[in-house]
């Protein structure tokens, strides 16, 4: 069983961030949503481990709630 790694693991964070934004260049909002969904599914399958995926999903949802100042 592996845990979700949230320590730095990207060799060049700025490069990655740039590529992620560029991925959506010239796309409509709907097209971007579809690309994001595909990316999630591709990466999820690559990771595979259900515990890691669940932890990532929980973290994503948790951060979303706090960002809005919601309880």
């Amino acid at each position: 069983m592996t845990t979700l790694n949230t320590e730095p693991n990207l060799p060049d964070p700025d490069d990655f961030y740039d590529e992620l934004i560029a991925l959506h260049r010239d796309l409509t909002d709907d097209e971007s949503a579809l690309v994001n969904a595909k990316l999630i599914l591709l990466l999820a399958n690559h990771i595979g481990d259900p515990d890691v995926l669940r932890a990532a999903m929980a973290a994503a949802r948790r951060e979303a709630a706090h960002d809005g100042g919601l309880p």
Partner: protein, 547 residues
């Protein structure tokens, strides 16, 4: 029309005059589930009356995909063969996105089973064959145009008020099986509910008659060119009748969509402008998944759609209803005979609510994929379909319906847990796997599991006095002995069959001395590597709720 509905006449019963008559069992509803229960009870010589408020069978083909397990149950009840012969067998399915194949499945990839994964046959034909079967059994009676208008459960019986064209009358019974369908009047009369959800979508269901060489199997499309942004499903039935389901969306108006001027263009878009076909039946459906909290309420037992409802993607509706009564009837008979405690009937509720939950889970997931509930859900669904074209992992996420397989009753208290090591799938709680054999009767193993407890022994015969003792026990157990080279034979207490293809031994991970104990509904409830009479008797007692 390829079929003219059978009309079964109303007949006044002598029960309608004089004192209130009492029956061990009354069944409400002469649909497939009620009729199957009646056949099973009558074959066990239990007097049973089936009450139906109508005088005909299913209007429209409705449930058409009859699963292998259901066919095995129909075989046990003596009506499987006409259904399998009239219907169209299939095992494979294809799923398309736009005009590309994205997913294929084979539900029965191995040979050596009597029945295919599915037989497609219009529900009215299945009901006619069941009526024919039940009518041939002296212990059962079907009363048409008998409408139950009052149900009064009491401590030691259930009182029924029944309305007929000749006025109403009363009956009482020890046990009432409510197989009266999705809107279950019995359920309503008892103030009970089935909770769940409605799927906000509408589907046009059409039967057409058409000569076509289109190959067999289940065909499903997401967003095909002929029905953009919606789903379509195609199945072949008997008589060159084809079932087409077309998703319409929630905003479609059911009355408008049933009109010929709406249906015909849709069909021509799918089948080709020059296609020759006749529309036999059309209806617009909205699907739901629901279930009652408890399927047992004292002396009233709910089965089929009266107990649980699913959307049809996966063929888990009628099939699970038949499996409900397969589970119920042998238990009811042991309780009625005083051989099992009343609490054995609680295990009907335990086992079949678990099965219903599994069916609801799978049907709901498929329906959510076919009818996404939110914009983001639709986005993910379309993402899966897009990825499935190029990537193998995404194909397994494509969900147009996970087709019905019988529930494995793995957690049931009636099972005896394994104490010996076994490989393979045949764990306690699993329905019997079929295999070709050489025997004094059928050439299929599953036909030797005969509505009583069955002990199947491999290679090392058990002492004849042990087989005789099991046969004479109050809860009878018959023995089937399997040997590679034995001469097939039959006596009261033991049948000898040969595992001619070796598949039985393989499927059951059997070695010399291996024993499997099956319940009367052909589910494994215990297994061992050596025979021990005390252990077998204890497992039978446990499976009958006596432990």
């Amino acid at each position: 029309m390829t079929y003219s509905p059978s009309v079964y006449p109303y007949r006044r019963s002598p029960d309608q005059d004089g004192d209130v008559v009492h029956y061990p069992v009354v069944i409400v509803g002469a649909g497939p589930v009620g009729l199957a229960a009646a056949a099973d009870l009558a074959l066990r010589d239990v007097p049973v009356v089936v009450l139906d408020d109508d005088h005909t069978v299913s209007v429209g083909s409705r449930a058409i995909c009859w699963a292998k397990r259901t066919l095995e149950i129909f075989d046990r009840l003596g009506c499987g063969e006409p259904i399998a012969r009239k219907g169209v067998g299939w095992s494979t399915g294809k799923v398309f996105h736009r005009d590309e194949l994205v997913f294929q499945f084979d539900l029965l990839p191995e040979h050596g089973h009597r029945r295919p994964a599915f037989v497609n046959l219009q529900q009215y034909y299945v009901e006619d064959y069941l009526v024919e079967r039940v009518s041939a059994l002296p212990a059962a009676e079907i009363r048409w145009m008998n409408k139950v208008v009052g149900v009064t459960p009491q401590a030691d019986r259930v009182m029924l008020r029944i309305d007929t064209p000749d006025g109403d009358y009363a009956l009482t019974c020890d046990w009432l099986i409510a197989a009266d369908g999705a809107r279950s009047p019995v359920r309503t009369m008892l103030g009970l509910e089935a909770e769940g959800q409605v799927f906000r979508d509408r589907f046009l269901i059409v039967d057409i008659r058409m000569k076509s060489d289109f190959p067999p199997g289940r065909w499903f499309w997401f967003d095909p060119p002929f029905h953009r942004n919606q789903s379509a499903l195609l199945h072949r039935q008997a008589d060159d009748v084809w079932r087409i389901d077309l998703q319409l969306g929630w905003d479609a108006d059911p009355e408008t969509e049933k009109r010929a001027d709406r249906i015909l263009p849709r069909l021509r878009a799918m089948l080709g402008e020059d296609a020759e076909f006749d529309v036999e039946w059309a209806s617009v459906y909205t699907f739901e998944c629901r279930r009652m909290q408890d399927f047992r309420h004292g002396r009233v037992l709910f089965a089929g759609d009266a107990a649980h409802l699913v959307s049809p993607f996966g063929a888990r509706g009628a099939n699970s209803g038949i499996q409900d009564v397969d589970n119920l009837v042998w238990k009811l008979c042991l309780v009625m005979a005083g051989l099992a405690p009343d609490r054995l009937l609680d295990t009907y509720d335990i086992e079949r609510t678990a099965a219903a939950d599994e069916n609801i889970k799978h049907s709901t997931r498929a329906t959510d994929f076919i009818t996404p509930k939110s914009a983001i859900s639709r986005t993910f669904r379309d993402a899966v379909l897009g990825l499935a074209k190029h990537h193998a992992f995404a194909r397994r996420l494509v969900n147009s319906g996970r087709l019905s397989v019988p529930a494995v009753l793995a957690g049931s208290p009636l099972n005896t847990p394994d104490t010996d090591p076994f490989e393979g799938a045949m764990v306690p709680g699993t329905p019997a796997a079929d295999a070709p054999v050489t025997g004094p009767g059928s050439k299929w193993f599953i036909e030797y599991l005969r509505s009583v407890f069955m002990l199947v022994t491999f290679a090392a015969p058990i002492p004849p006095e042990a087989a005789a003792a099991l046969f004479r026990d109050p809860i009878r157990c018959r023995v089937v002995h399997v040997d590679a080279d034995a001469t097939p034979s039959i006596s009261d207490s033991q049948v000898v069959i040969a595992d001619s293809a070796g598949l039985l031994t393989k499927r059951y991970d059997a070695r010399p001395g291996t024993c499997y104990l099956f319940r009367p509904d052909q589910h494994v409830c215990a297994r061992w590597r050596t025979f021990d009479l005390t252990a077998v008797r204890a497992a039978i007692a446990r499976a009958a709720g006596n432990a």
